[in-house]
């Protein structure tokens, strides 16, 4: 994916996006100045631990941040050349479903329990297609067939509680894809499924992507899923993207100490360990963030500079950036032990 990409291939560009939640006690900086872009047909993974702002980022892209507490305070979300933050609520409704859609985390709760899945699917299809009843029915059957639901004609009259979790998540997928959007945000779509079903679902998403040229933003905390699904990865920590780059690049030479720690904490089958690796300490509260680097309190390489100012981004390879002072050429502290500098870029 790193090879030939021109600017016209970019369908989504996020610049310095800030989404805050204003509570009586404090301002929670859930998303605090993130920038990334997404190209046609690619899969961008957003990885990070719980509460780092992944889901809030996703909801910001659809402008569905919980109101009235949550608000996008700054930044740009440029979709096909237009900043959607400038759009009215009515115009946004055309963006949702038709241009950007989303698959939610828990299939058990994301379908309305009192309507049949046929009803919910036809409703979603009806947004883009105004047709008569029988042709809508055909479309609904097709949509279910596309997500590998067996005997779709019979399934249309089922209520969500009559289906298994994996089946429901397929239906949610069919709903998300009903208006043929250019981008789908998948927010931990397989977390609630068991492992074998997970794999099937991921394969299905890949197949659909290959067929339709859809771009996927894949939100997860699972590096295994990232390796399987994504072309590029953005690692989030405490409301910021601290490193992003090509997926092979990130796995082979993670630059940021946090990314390294994350990858190290994935247990390996071939190694026997008594105690699994974990990162010391807790992530900072999003309502009370440190001045400098947010990972500094937990970072083994920390210096005074890290505690004072947030590190500027540094390019490691093409399309690979990280926010860490230790990667800067003028770094005076101990070098990052595990970091393998690409040949030719740094000394």
């Amino acid at each position: 994916m790193t090879a030939v990409q021109t600017a016209t291939d970019t369908i989504l560009e996020v610049n310095n996006l800030k989404t805050y939640i204003f509570t009586r006690a404090a301002t929670v900086k859930a998303v605090d100045g993130i920038s990334f872009d997404l190209k046609k047909g690619e899969t961008l993974g957003i990885v990070g631990e719980s509460g780092c702002g992944k889901t809030m980022t996703a909801l910001s892209l659809l402008r569905l941040v919980p109101r009235p507490a949550g608000r996008i305070v700054e930044g740009e979300i440029v979709l096909n050349g237009e900043d959607i933050l400038q759009k009215s609520e009515d115009e946004m409704r055309d963006v949702r479903g038709r241009q950007i859609s989303m698959i939610l985390q828990d299939p058990q709760t994301s379908l309305n329990p009192v309507f049949t899945i046929g009803n919910q699917l036809r409703e979603a299809l009806g947004i883009a297609h105004k047709e008569n009843k029988s042709s809508m029915l055909g479309r609904a059957v097709d949509a279910l067939r596309k997500v590998n639901v067996a005997a779709p004609e019979r399934r249309l009259d089922d209520y969500p509680h009559q289906m298994s979790g994996g089946m429901k998540q397929r239906v949610v997928g069919a709903i998300a894809m009903s208006c043929e959007p250019g981008i789908i945000i998948a927010d931990e779509p397989t977390t609630a499924l068991d492992v074998t079903i997970q794999l099937q679902y991921l394969r299905l998403l890949k197949e659909i992507q290959a067929e339709t040229g859809l771009a996927i933003i894949f939100i997860t905390h699972d590096f295994g899923v990232v390796a399987r699904m994504c072309d590029r990865v953005a690692v989030m920590y405490a409301g910021r993207i601290i490193e992003q780059g090509d997926v092979r690049d990130i796995f082979s030479r993670p630059a940021h100490p946090y990314t390294q720690a994350l990858i190290n904490s994935v247990p390996k089958l071939e190694e026997r360990v008594d105690r699994l690796y974990s990162i010391e300490g807790q992530p900072p509260l999003l309502s009370n963030l440190p001045e400098g680097c947010r990972f500094a309190p937990r970072c083994p390489y920390v210096s005074d500079r890290c505690l004072e100012t947030y590190p500027t981004s540094i390019q490691i390879a093409e399309e690979h950036h990280a926010d860490c002072w230790a990667l800067h050429p003028d770094w005076e502290g101990s070098p990052i032990a595990e970091y393998v500098a690409p040949t030719g870029t740094t000394g």
Binding site: L64, R96, L104, D106, T109, S110, P113, V114, V172, S178
Partner: protein, 305 residues
């Protein structure tokens, strides 16, 4: 679904059987009915004769079977007060009570559901606060006081509506509102809170992601889900309204069952009171069954659960 309905009806019949036992027992415990009818000067022989002719000398279980047999054939006895069959009296008075209660129920629904839904959608706005005030006022003021104030304002002062009695639509407005207003607060608050829960669910989020207009999200996706809780209460209110009409019928001289029961109690007409109590119990059971069936219709998960 059919199995569900049959099961509910069987359960209802069981409840009715138990109630009939209780009503029967209460009427025996309440004292000798003969003492209430005959005056002190009645001779022993006279009392004995009446006791025999009413079957009161037989063992209790035989009396119960006789009572049940009569009940099932629709023979509710004869009122001393009016000297007419009780069934006839009830048939004459029931429509007025059902009419008033249904109208009150409709008024409760028309006011409470929309206010509840909109209060949730516009949470913490002036509308939410105003709705709360309006509802709590109805809950706090006694029904008869609301009735009297309404009567004074709209009938006496403004002269727009009749003060009392049964007639056309205009006659229903004041007693219907006075009766219905009391329950608005409960229904409205229940609707509001369950609506707030529903607005926060993932499937509403998914509906928004689909790009569905907000009004459709509120009235299609949320309303039916939010209805499940308040609906049970709402239909139970119908039973409460029928029995509760006793007070408002007296205030507005509405010729229904309530007014009749008050008169029967005043003249110690136990036969009428017993029959009406049994009828009210049957209504409660019937309405409960109807509620369960509606409930199953609204929420498909209940049908199979």
């Amino acid at each position: 679904m059919q199995r569900f309905i049959v099961l509910r009806i069987l359960q209802g019949l069981l409840a009715v059987f138990v109630i009939s036992l209780i009503v029967f027992a209460l009427s025996r415990v309440a004292g000798d009915p003969l003492a209430a009818i005959l005056d002190d000067e009645a001779g022993k022989e006279q009392i004995e004769r009446l006791r025999q002719s009413w079957g009161l000398d037989k063992p209790l279980h035989v009396q119960y079977f006789t009572y049940m047999r009569r009940l099932l054939t629709g023979d509710l006895g004869v009122s001393f007060r009016w000297d007419r069959p009780v069934l006839e009296l009830i048939a004459e008075r029931l429509p007025a009570t059902v009419q008033l209660s249904s109208f009150a129920l409709v008024i409760t629904g028309i006011i409470a559901f929309p206010i509840g839904v909109l209060s949730a959608v516009r949470k913490d706005s002036w509308f939410d606060a105003g709705g709360k005030m309006f509802a709590i006022l109805g809950q706090s003021a006694p029904t008869f006081a609301v009735g009297l104030i309404l009567m004074w304002l709209f009938a006496v002062q403004l002269g727009w509506l009749p003060t009392s009695g049964r007639g056309g639509f205009k006659h229903m407005l004041l007693p219907g509102f006075a009766l219905g207003y009391y329950n608005v607060a409960a229904i409205m608050r229940l609707t509001r809170s369950s609506m707030l829960d529903v607005l926060d669910t993932e499937y509403v989020k998914l509906a928004r992601i689909k790009g569905i207009p907000e009004w459709k999200i509120v009235w299609k996706h949320c309303f039916r889900n939010a209805l499940i809780g308040p609906l049970t209460y709402f239909s139970l209110i119908f039973a409460v309204l029928i029995t509760g009409s006793v007070v408002i019928e007296t205030v507005f001289a509405w010729p229904g069952l309530g007014l009749m029961v008050i008169e029967a109690i005043n003249s110690k007409d136990h036969i009428v009171v017993q029959a009406v109590v049994m009828l009210f119990a049957l209504l409660y059971v019937g309405i409960n069954i109807a509620t369960d069936i509606t409930y199953a219709y609204v929420d498909p998960r209940i049908r199979y659960g």
